[in-house]
């Protein structure tokens, strides 16, 4: 099965095209079936993945435009493997959670399957052009999902989402092309292969500008402060499934971009930019957490909390040691699962009540105990309670970042305080207290469909919180290799000092 990655990428797309001819009534079943097959494929990928091999596996290489070095080049390592699995899993669960009476179900399924293709494609492509193609293509189905199934101001939100991220990624494209040009100058041949770029030595000036170009694309996607404002709009208007995938997977593309492009290709600039990134990320962590506290709408709280958590991921990426970087990749997974689940949960209550305002609720714990329990578990994972998935990543990131800046770690660590402030405030306002709104009295608790979507996430939250090793180990191996590469690749002694290679690797 040497083409498993191609299968992973294109199976959903092909199935999506076929989906146009599927009967309307069976569209959801079809979607579940396809997503399940895709998910099983990704699980198979994991099973056949060699955890001890830190390099790229299952690589496929087909030249597309040979004279410009553009090729169809796929591969997966410990860093991308689990994000792919998470993407397929979240898509599957998201489709399961879709209501039967969703309007235009067929279109929804088809766009979700196309979205799945682009998501998987982004994380497995090793060619900058192919990467960019998937990157931009992912905007289209999401634009459609927000614009077609969203709330009252969906068009504004969708256009803002599209234009904002698109503007950033165009700058990134310029960076990618400049990178290829510089590679051509240096090596004499054209190549868009990321692995080739890893070997390229660039001057400090070139690295500086290239970093900024990449930064524009990735930072808007993450989204970093102050480029985050498209996110609350998008989340506020997107349908549940849109928010789930947006928060769980699409945001990770930004941080993944930093890990895959900025760090190894531009090690010196990455180290030089660390204070800058740190300041932005810390503002992101504290400021957006405070903004989240001020929200009246449950979904907005979670949207802003997403931004806040992405800040933690960002500082982990720039911790320049295996603990921080590995932790931040793990945190990408955990944030995907937890925020995905939280958005699903908000969607559940929104379906029942047609509102997301916290003031409309209160005392839900009494009327919907199972719902409250699942929400509580996800809340605890979100605030980083040990033995939930949220803690492992957050702990490692903060631990790793300590080496970069003590003050920064303390400020970032305040996330465990302010994170619990807004989350507990949300929980108290919606779930605790007497039931004051009579509309909340007869609310149904989670039904079978919702439980099918949510319980696997709860199980994963606990499983990876207690025993993260199967996931953490491949990540750790690849991260260590990445750091070694960075260190060898770095030109300035100060960079080499900043990158900490774990002792085992150093030997």
């Amino acid at each position: 099965m040497s083409h498993i990655l191609s299968a992973l990428v294109f199976f959903p797309a092909l199935a999506g095209i076929l989906g146009f001819v599927v009967d309307k009534k069976s569209a959801k079943a079809y979607g579940i079936a396809v997503a399940a097959v895709e998910f099983l494929l990704s699980i198979w990928l994991w099973i056949s993945f060699d955890g001890s091999n830190a390099g790229m596996q299952f690589t496929e290489y087909v030249p597309i435009i040979a004279q410009f070095g553009i090729s169809y080049n796929l591969g997966v390592d410990g860093i991308s493997l689990f994000i792919v699995i998470m993407a397929t899993m979240i898509t599957l669960l998201g489709i399961i959670l879709l209501r039967e009476d969703t309007p235009n179900m067929k279109n929804m399924i088809v766009s979700l399957l196309f979205l799945e293709m682009t998501m998987v494609g982004v994380f497995v492509s090793l060619d900058a052009i192919v990467f960019y193609l998937f990157w931009e293509l992912s905007l289209v189905p999401m634009l459609y999902i927000i614009g077609a199934w969203g709330g009252p101001t969906r068009v504004y939100a969708a256009v803002k989402f599209f234009l904002y991220t698109f503007a950033g990624s165009l700058i990134m494209l310029v960076g990618l092309l400049a990178m290829a040009y510089l590679y051509n100058l240096e090596a004499g041949v054209w190549s868009f292969n990321i692995l080739d770029w890893y070997k390229l030595q660039l001057t400090a000036d070139q690295q500086f500008w290239l970093f900024l170009a990449f930064f524009a694309g990735f930072a808007i996607k993450v989204p970093m402060f102050p480029f985050h404002t498209w996110l609350p709009h998008a989340h506020g208007q997107a349908p549940t499934i849109g928010s789930v995938i947006l928060a769980a997977v699409l945001l990770k593309m930004g941080t993944y971009g930093f890990v895959r492009f900025s760090l190894p290709i531009l090690p010196d600039a990455s180290v030089d930019f660390t204070p800058f990134i740190m300041v932005l990320s810390l503002i992101m962590v504290v400021y957006t957490a405070m903004v989240a506290f001020a929200q009246k709408d449950m979904k907005q709280v979670i949207a802003y909390s997403s931004v806040s958590h992405m800040g933690i991921i960002m500082i982990g990426v720039f911790a320049m040691n295996a603990e921080g970087l590995g932790g931040s990749i793990f945190l990408m997974l955990s944030h995907g699962i937890v925020s995905g689940a939280l958005f699903m949960l908000v969607g559940v209550i929104y379906e029942r009540r047609g509102t997301k305002l916290m003031s409309e609720f209160g005392g839900l714990a009494a009327t919907m105990p199972i719902y409250a329990t699942v929400f509580g578990v996800m809340l605890m994972a979100s605030v980083g309670l040990p033995l939930t998935i949220g803690f492992v990543g957050e702990f490692l990131v903060l631990l790793g970042f300590y080496k970069v800046s003590v003050i920064g770690t303390i400020i970032a660590g305040s996330t465990i305080i302010i994170g619990s402030i807004y989350m507990l405030a949300l929980f108290k306002k919606s779930f605790f207290g007497p039931v004051t709104n009579e509309k909340n009295f007869g609310l149904k608790d989670l039904d079978a469909r919702e439980l099918t979507a949510l319980l696997p996430l709860v199980a994963i939250v606990v499983w990876l919180g207690v025993y993260p090793k199967p996931v953490l180990e491949p990540i750790d191996n690849s991260v260590k290799k990445l750091l070694v590469q960075m260190e060898e690749h770095a030109q300035f002694p100060s960079t080499k000092d900043a990158i900490i290679i774990s002792k085992k690797e150093a030997e």
Binding site: K160, W230, Y287, P369, Y402, G433, L472, S502
Partner: protein, 636 residues
């Protein structure tokens, strides 16, 4: 022995999961309570067996599996059962078992009976992880775990509505739960920083490795680690200024207060300091240790002063807990770790007993907490009266009872260390302790039956519950008798703190002073509050209007201060930030979009359909091009 460790650890977990099966709206199921209690008893037996094993064969160390390993970091789920942790285990499981059995009676009529046992057992599980872990990360798991369980249990009656601060200083159970959780998180951050410091300076989080490497570290780092860890301890053990959550946590059901907020969880901070004694006893961190002792002494006095006038029966007990935690920290800070641990254990017994007695009173009085509305309950509740009496005597530190030995040892330590100010304050506090604990006893059990006018019909707890409380009562009386055995046992692991010869010489006098002051406190309380008829207590309006009374009643205005200077500014800042986010950050993005729209709007005027004006525009453009060409020629 390994299996015993796992039995001790996981029995409560199984109980919690079992109770959890009857979650949700499932009707009350008496089995859950009994299964959970039985499993806890099993855990207790295993702990005792382990204790016996430790006495004879030394400590047991097991590693269950890897938890987190990334980079050079490797954290296993490892459990260490040595003298210190086995003491904690026995205390925790014993008190927990009693509280569980008590709860089957106390929570009898609560509709969330199953949920309660699920939470309570989960708490015990977390607490056991906390004390048994062999590394700081594992400790942190338990640390946060008990925090969550405390959150769940304090907010157990989440359906109660918020009330204004003036009416109920704790506002509501859910509010108190959140306060407790968030305030603990503040301290947890300190703890995390301590863990990071340890990891990056030593490279491991295992206790044995860390403590072995401690003496080789630079002084500054040691001090930093000590401060960071102590900040963590301050949160969990509710030391000033992170103390306000403890009294508010009394919103939880009384068994919870007895177990979590008196006997076990709040002592976790003391446990941490004891556990990290190789660090805190280093010369380099003596300043921090002294600070710990001073802070403990301050808190002991501070809390006792508030207890003097408190009217809420649970608050009085909570404040006395706070005060006793201060004693423990004083001992630990002065280097007498084993005495601190001893007081911790003794305190766990008598304070749990006291709380459960208070719970009985509440149960009898239909959840009335105001002692001004009680009085003369002795007849109706003889059993509870005896228990409360025993516990209060122990707390007051009268001879024979457990508190006498442990507290006296702490006061003696303060004298021995030459810290006479600490000694003096601790002695005065001992008198205050005796006064307020008996004030509460006399108020509720002696004097006029004030409740009759209010229409209460008190009745004592179920018999089996009272029987179940007996072990605590016995230990509250007798635990002190085993002081020397305990010392011999525990000092295998902890530094053997010995009184100097000089102090030893004066020990009888010191003890006498403490006892006299304590007895004086009791006598005053009796005079004031136990009288009947003409001697009956009357409210002293003048005193209640005085500044000191107001100060104490408002807890030195600390909650007010937090509300005014932390909560409100934070809320306002959050709102402001949100406004900024919408107006400035998002606004500037929209501004770009609007600029494009506007330019389109403006330039649309050119498209007026008049060819002639199009030509004019074209001409202007052509002119521009020509000028540009001319300039280009001129320049280049």
């Amino acid at each position: 022995m390994e299996s015993l460790v796992y039995v001790a650890l996981f029995a409560p977990f199984v109980g919690s999961m079992f109770a959890g099966l009857f979650f949700g709206n499932a009707p009350r199921n008496a089995i859950t309570g009994w299964v959970a209690s039985t499993l806890l008893f099993v855990s207790f037996l295993a702990s005792v067996a382990l204790a016996v094993h430790v006495v004879h064969h030394g400590s047991v160390h097991v590693t269950m599996m890897d938890w987190i390993s990334a980079g050079d970091l490797s954290i296993p789920f490892g459990f260490l059962v040595d003298e210190v942790s086995v003491t904690m285990m026995v205390v925790v499981t014993l008190v927990s078992t009693v509280v569980h059995i008590y709860s089957t009676g106390y929570m009898d009529h609560d509709k969330s009976y199953n949920r309660f046992f699920s939470y309570l057992s989960a708490f015990v599980f977390s607490m056991l992880i906390l004390v048994m872990s062999d590394n700081f990360a594992g400790l942190f798991i338990g640390w946060e775990g008990v925090g969550v369980c405390s959150w769940l249990l304090v907010g157990f009656w989440y359906h109660k509505a918020d009330r204004p601060f003036e009416e109920n200083p704790s506002i509501s159970p859910s509010w108190a739960a959140n306060e407790a959780f968030i305030m603990n998180r503040v301290a947890d951050l300190g703890m995390l920083v301590g863990i990071f410091l340890i990891y990056w300076n030593i490279g491991s989080l295992q206790y044995d490795v860390v403590f072995a490497a401690m003496p080789n570290l630079a002084d500054g780092i040691l001090v930093a680690i000590a401060i960071a860890l102590f900040i963590g301890a301050m949160g969990k053990s509710a030391q000033f200024p992170l103390h306000t959550w403890l009294t508010d946590a009394m919103e939880g059901p009384t068994p919870v207060s007895a177990l979590i907020h008196a006997a076990t969880m709040v002592t976790a901070g003391v446990f941490l300091v004891i556990r990290a004694n190789p660090l805190f006893s280093l010369e380099a961190v003596s300043g921090v240790s002294l600070f710990i002792a001073a802070l403990g002494t301050f808190v002991a006095f501070y809390a006792a002063s508030m207890a003097l006038i408190a009217r809420d029966i649970k608050r009085i007990v909570a404040l006395s807990t706070l005060s006793q935690l201060g004693y423990m920290f004083a001992a630990a800070g002065l280097g007498a770790y084993w005495i601190a641990l001893f007081h911790l254990a003794a305190h766990a017994f008598f304070k749990a007993l006291l709380f459960l007695g208070a719970g009985n009173v509440m149960h009898a009085m239909d959840d009335e907490l105001d002692i001004f509305k009680m009085g003369g309950l002795k007849k109706a509740m003889m059993g509870s009266y005896i228990y409360m009496g025993i516990a209060s005597v122990a707390l007051a530190g009268l001879p024979i009872f457990a508190g006498f030995y442990s507290k006296d040892a702490i006061i003696e330590t303060a004298f021995n260390e030459g810290t006479y100010i600490i000694w003096g304050i601790l002695v005065i506090t001992a008198g205050m302790t005796a006064f307020y604990s008996f004030r509460q006893v006399f108020f509720s059990f002696h004097g006029e039956k004030r409740y009759e006018a209010l229409g209460f019909h008190p009745h004592d707890m179920y018999k089996y519950v009272l029987v179940a409380m007996a072990p605590l009562a016995i230990l509250a009386i007798s635990f002190g008798w085993f002081m020397d055995d305990f010392k011999a046992f525990i000092t295998k692991n902890l530094p053997a703190y010995e009184m100097s010869h000089h102090t030893h010489h004066w020990a009888w006098l010191l003890g006498l002073i403490v006892v006299i002051i304590a007895v004086a406190g009791i006598v005053i309380a009796y005079k004031k509050y136990a009288g009947k008829g003409a001697n009956a207590w009357k409210r002293d309006e003048e005193f209640e209007a005085s500044f000191i009374y107001k100060l104490l009643e408002n807890q030195y205005y600390v909650p007010k201060f937090y509300d005014e200077f932390l909560v409100k500014p934070y809320t306002i800042a959050s709102e402001k930030f949100w406004a900024i986010d919408k107006a400035v950050v998002d606004g500037s993005v929209d501004l770009i979009a609007k600029a494009f729209y506007k330019s389109g709007d403006v330039s649309r005027g050119m498209q007026n359909g008049n060819l002639s004006s199009y030509l004019n525009w074209m001409g202007a453009g052509a002119l521009l091009l020509v000028v540009a060409a001319a300039l280009a020629t001129a320049i280049g």
